[in-house]
Symmetry: C2
Subunit: 503 residues, 2 copies
Amino acid sequence: MLTALTTDLYQLTMAQVYYRRGLHERPAQFDHFFRSYPDYGSHQAGYCVAAGLEAFVGFVADTAFTDDDIAYLSSLKGRSGSALFAADFLRWLRSMSFTDGITIEAVLEGRVVHANAPMTVVTGPLATAQILETALLNQINYATLIATKASRMVDSARGRPVLEFGLRRGATGAGDVGARAALIGGAEFTSNVSAARDAEVEPKGTHAHSLVQAMMALGEGERGAFQAYADVYPDDCVLLVDTIDTLESGVPNAIEVFEDLRSKGHEPVGIRLDSGDLAYLAVRSARMLDDAGFEGASIVLSGGLDEMSIWQILTQIDREAARYGLDPVALVDRLTFGVGTSLITSEGDPALDGVYKLVAISDGSAWQPAIKISENPMKVPNPGRKALHRLYDNRGIATADVMSLEGEVADDPMVLRHPIEATLLRSVSPDSLSGREVLLEVVVDEGDVRAEFPGVDELRKRRERDLDRLDEGVRRLVNPHIYHVSLSERLWDLKQALVASPS
Amino acid sequence: MLTALTTDLYQLTMAQVYYRRGLHERPAQFDHFFRSYPDYGSHQAGYCVAAGLEAFVGFVADTAFTDDDIAYLSSLKGRSGSALFAADFLRWLRSMSFTDGITIEAVLEGRVVHANAPMTVVTGPLATAQILETALLNQINYATLIATKASRMVDSARGRPVLEFGLRRGATGAGDVGARAALIGGAEFTSNVSAARDAEVEPKGTHAHSLVQAMMALGEGERGAFQAYADVYPDDCVLLVDTIDTLESGVPNAIEVFEDLRSKGHEPVGIRLDSGDLAYLAVRSARMLDDAGFEGASIVLSGGLDEMSIWQILTQIDREAARYGLDPVALVDRLTFGVGTSLITSEGDPALDGVYKLVAISDGSAWQPAIKISENPMKVPNPGRKALHRLYDNRGIATADVMSLEGEVADDPMVLRHPIEATLLRSVSPDSLSGREVLLEVVVDEGDVRAEFPGVDELRKRRERDLDRLDEGVRRLVNPHIYHVSLSERLWDLKQALVASPS
């Protein structure tokens, strides 16, 4: 989908500078991480779910500058009218492969990831690793953003299925990536046929208002529309009941059709509500369905849903169901949530602020840590080649992600430093831990793709396992507890030394 | 980019119902329109800029269900285990073309468009036109959203160039579409090489912090990094000056390199500021550049910009420049604005609420208007086959977009009805108008692509012409005046009759 020219021009102008200086194949390391969790305004994420790695590794393995690409680049002119890119540099660009000497370590897709800890580490020739920046960020930032949003919705939905159907409102061409990310984040289905095929899940969907409108305009009414649908899908009959009036027309007409189906030996599946007070209408519709003998009929809710409105709907049902003689738990067990716009766009915070920063470069014989000084201390990257571990406490709950220097042996007790606040540190004794897990795995080793990329089902399980080991306070939808991402004492010392004397 | 399976499953399940009922080739009309202008929270759009039509028409002309697509669809099972789609329906799907009998009228790309007036009208066989919904919305909603956001930024930037560089933060695979839409909306350049090639504009970009970091880690410092860049691009030298400290290090180092360039007969281009108080730093940097004899050096501002921060920066420069002995107008004339995240994601409102509604269907001999009743009156579509005109007042300013019945002759005076509020109407005499323009043009005529799709330059001119004819109150960034989108008296009467008796 992406090509070698799916990049920012400055990657190529910088690469030419490195080439001209003979630095283009100098080993360098870039860390990819996001600086802050998505903040949706009235609610905030306390964790993210990694996604997009398989696509990025596929890009690295399969993409190259083509003759056409090179011809285009050679046509670009600077202000003086001379060629922007010289012929020798373009020959190198044509000859290079994105896998040449490239090693990629990453936290695997589906895993919970945290702000300011590396998600992806790219090591290799300076120019190549630099050019990879845009493709990496374009592929991992968005997928992680959407997997995270989906994870919150699924968490909010108390285990009931979440159905992704944002294709019409997502960015053009991003629908399949967005749907796959939603599935990784825990969505159970998607309406997007292409994405469902690729992810090997069933696509889902029934009918829209237009079916009812068409039959109404042709004189068959809502009842006729429902009947036409039921005739074709007698065992998969979900009817959209809000075209005219949900309780006065839609549900009664649906019940008539359901009775007809049952008389013919078929069991109707349920109804969909797409407008109005969804909690109230779910309760009232459930009551009507129950009274007609369709206690098993499911109720799909859709229309502007996100994690907060799902939470609100379930809370309202908890309170309101009993008034109509319904068990709220049983009612919730009949629900499915269809989410569109807010999921595919990560409404409230439509971009993950993932960045890709040079952290080390070889001087020809040894790695030199690199740093960027910023007026904003949180924007100072953590320098050098690092290890990343997740510590689990004696309850088996993740308590910190810790960056340390490559090859560093953990102190006893370990001192965990806040990345920038000198006074914030804690001491952790090995006795208080149940595990210390290496988070970064080698997925490309000097150009060889090492990782196997499992299907969506396995990625969903990874997310579930990590969520089970996440503090409830970090999981909560609003004002989550801030998970500790820490530096080892030695990494802290290196960072301070570089900040004091950057060049 | 999109395939025939880039669709929601329900389009296909509905199509099969129509097929089974013999209605699949029944003429139908769907209107595409957005219900509300983007609302970014603290600021709101008063108009949108149409984009995405060329891509959609390309999809219609070039896409079909392939054998692989049909094989996949034939593999889908319902709950009973039998095939979801029957063989005869799939044969029809394989044999149909998206152009068969399809006519598309649309407001052309680059034009100003308004809420609740049709942007795109698709007429043709019911099943075909239904299936086109998802592709249309996916392609036109996003492009229009981004063209609109770009237009606001360009308007805010007082004619100074806006450079799009959001590829890393946009949705995966949507970067080229987003960049093209930004260009249609008035952005002058993009950093996205692929998008620039396709749109036939120059890609732009210089270097990132990583160049400075790499050279610092190798002992050459910021000055060495700047020198390395200037050596390769002596006539295109824009230096990013905020890696260490903008005023203490970056600008002085840049000036040294600029002096060196000038001594060798080259004229430096300028600097880029990417962090900190951009207005203050622009003023201080301009003062330093002027004092060093680089009055012509341009200043690129970037880092979290949107239309509001551009406005704020220019306002602050207006006030602050004189304190440093600078003419604010001359300083603003040196600026370029680089915008990333907020443009490519339409931050604040990441989706256009464009919908595609059945408005008419043939009963076999005559068109029947279709309506959907909704609890929200603004969600009741305007029924039937309609004309759409833009009225210009005697100043040449657009005063209303008016929907009327097909073939209706305008009354004198015309009564313009608010779409839902019975008490809101105005009377317009032909004397008070300078023009009445047909907005919808036939771009596909019974399957023949009629439209020529001009390049981005021409689309930008269309936008400029329309903005020149837009009321300043409608253009303003915050709390814009609501442009009138009206119904003719006869269309109003039809809508009332259908609402009263929908089926």
